[in-house]
Symmetry: C2
Subunit: 458 residues, 2 copies
Amino acid sequence: MKSPEIYHSQIPARSTGGAGGRRPLLPIASDAFLFFSGAVAALLLVWTFSTFSNSQPHSTTTNFDTQISDPKLSVKDDVSCDVSSNGYNHRYDPSDPNFYDDPDFGYTIDKPVRNWDEKRKEWFKHHPSFGSGSEERVLVLSGSQSGPCSNPIGDHLLLRFFKNKVDYCRIHGYDIFYNNVLLHPQMHTYWAKIPAVRAAMLAHPEAEWIWWVDSDAAFTDMDFKLPLDRYKNHNFVVHGWPKLIYEKKSWTSLNAGVFLIRNSQWALDFMDVWSGMGPQTPNYEKWGEILRETCKDKIFKESDDQTGLVYLLLKEKEKWGDKIYVEGEYYFEGYWLEIVETLKNITARYNEVERGVSRLRRRHGEKVSEAYSMIWDEYLKDAGYGKFSWRRPFITHFTGCQPCSGKHNQMYSGQSCWDAMLKALNFADNQVLRNYGFVHRDLLDSASVTPLPFDFPA
Amino acid sequence: MKSPEIYHSQIPARSTGGAGGRRPLLPIASDAFLFFSGAVAALLLVWTFSTFSNSQPHSTTTNFDTQISDPKLSVKDDVSCDVSSNGYNHRYDPSDPNFYDDPDFGYTIDKPVRNWDEKRKEWFKHHPSFGSGSEERVLVLSGSQSGPCSNPIGDHLLLRFFKNKVDYCRIHGYDIFYNNVLLHPQMHTYWAKIPAVRAAMLAHPEAEWIWWVDSDAAFTDMDFKLPLDRYKNHNFVVHGWPKLIYEKKSWTSLNAGVFLIRNSQWALDFMDVWSGMGPQTPNYEKWGEILRETCKDKIFKESDDQTGLVYLLLKEKEKWGDKIYVEGEYYFEGYWLEIVETLKNITARYNEVERGVSRLRRRHGEKVSEAYSMIWDEYLKDAGYGKFSWRRPFITHFTGCQPCSGKHNQMYSGQSCWDAMLKALNFADNQVLRNYGFVHRDLLDSASVTPLPFDFPA
């Protein structure tokens, strides 16, 4: 595979272009003050560059030039050596010992972690490029079994569901991790997400929130974003109906297939207690009984994560309840059977609005889509949220369909599940594809798209 | 779905937290500054904000606060109102007309685009938060058919291949778009990527490079990054062997399943010519003949994109060749049959190195993995690249396996293909999973992982 001399250039150990040089916090500030004792004007300029540089990767090329032109400004402990095009310094992990260097620190649920909030704070101190916007940083987490699905179209549907999540994350700048393995061999099915969420928290100290989204849930409003402000005093958000939880004590009073959990010590402690009802414990059977006593409508005998969550809200409210936000205002996740038939009318309403507002028909780069979501908000004021609204449902969850196993709830046919999934996925895909110039005219026809004419509603 | 008053808070139209997060450095420095000299500082701050707020989204919260406290400082056309946690301003698209507002501008291959380089420059001018690091910005593009695969495990493999790409992109901060639709109904199979690449270029003016990676190719070195410096004078990079191209004139002298193409007018013009050999043209059959005359070893009669590329290198070298970099130095993509058997030895060599270097065994946040790739580089100096090297192959391409259709090359069995894919995917997955604390002990066992003990080599 050797190629002629003409192509035989040395390959660099790593592309050294980087995004240019960012400079660390402290050296700069001190540079700045040294400069004050010198000639003021020129130094103010350098100070300006340098002050901005540590929190503003976007000025890095400038800084780098400045550094080159002035060796005195060269940086110790290469915090600024390289920044990726998204502004993070992926290449900087200072040698100062941190929690990862503690032999007792582990990713498995049997290794308790202490003072995680302080440890995260410390991590940020040593990784300043991840500081800005950290409170809004969300890591989306999903996953499915490690082997092929028994339902013949199961894996195809999982591929489409995963693509849908990746699209949402790309548009909003979120990271996503899809997990195909059981991190705890006994924590199967709905229990598998807990060790995954836990490991993701510890592997991603930079993320404030871990957002578990089941593999059979699709984002059906690509514009909508979590109202994180609303959750600022909470650590766990789940879709549910307090009346059903506290009065009916129903195991379906909430849905544990989608939840938002703050990367925090609270979350680690909570998951320790929650997973304590799981199949990996000697108390698994006992918990099955307790949960059925607690939620009389629970149909199967095994302890499950969802009923476990209801139990903790009912029996340990004072301990956990204050930090758990039961979201019922919008489709944090919604039952597909209630949603899918509304998509046609919703599309018509959106097109109707769009016909009247040229700004909404304006084409744009995908990366600035949120600018148009904000314009949409003005026109969605009266749309409402959730059931009976004409706003796009945020997340459509195919609870009961079991795309991978195919063992769907017998109250509906498999075909109605698969058709509904394609409808929802193509409904979402139309919101993505329009920024590439195309549209699915028929939501049941995944294969066909037509070019979107200029200045026309989708 | 209405919930009791206690949960009945107004939902904000959109989370208004913005970049939020930790207190930026600027106020601190500027306090000191104001203390030093009030009047000068105020003036400089005005200048500073107006000059920098555009290019430093990471300071936008600060700027925004300052703007509120001092109307004189307000920045025209809300550039700094909101920035996502990754530093881009996804919410800012100024009203100034741009190329998207031109009715003649279209995403389909029949709508020629002119002066694209100038149009991109102009776009950056109006979207400063995307300016920094733009030369290094890569959008990974892949895709597969819109319907289920005929090979029973095809979709499962595609899901695993896609997850592998998403993992690589998350680690390095790249965007990825997976396309499931034929953007041009006649441009099927290997021709489908051209309209997809074209649409992606126009939808992503912020991306300097579009990197097409076939659905059946896996990243098997999660550390390695494209040596973009090497390609700075080129617009198209493909894996190939100049001797085979220019002397043997073989249609397999390069592989068109993975290529890097600069988002540029050159690329649009090149793709116009390249796609001119495609099935959507009246000349398709004629091109089939021409290509077979040009590359005598071409086995099938239809015109294909790969032989078309060889043709353009041979017949229009002066027109296109100078800007096409034929990469033969490392596994820009590599033939799986040549690679898979080497993975075991490569793993052993890496573990051997790791046993001797504690820094390489150090645990860390996934987001700073590149810091450890850089340390690895010191120990991989003698590993070589590509065939006969013990460096991890960058991309393993399952050419001939056809995971989706299952119509694999008859020189090997389907099983040997699927096994090799699982080996390669789990080999890659081990590089990802270790940052979550786990490892596959057996590359053929996708289901089982074991916790990675502290300070042990994988």
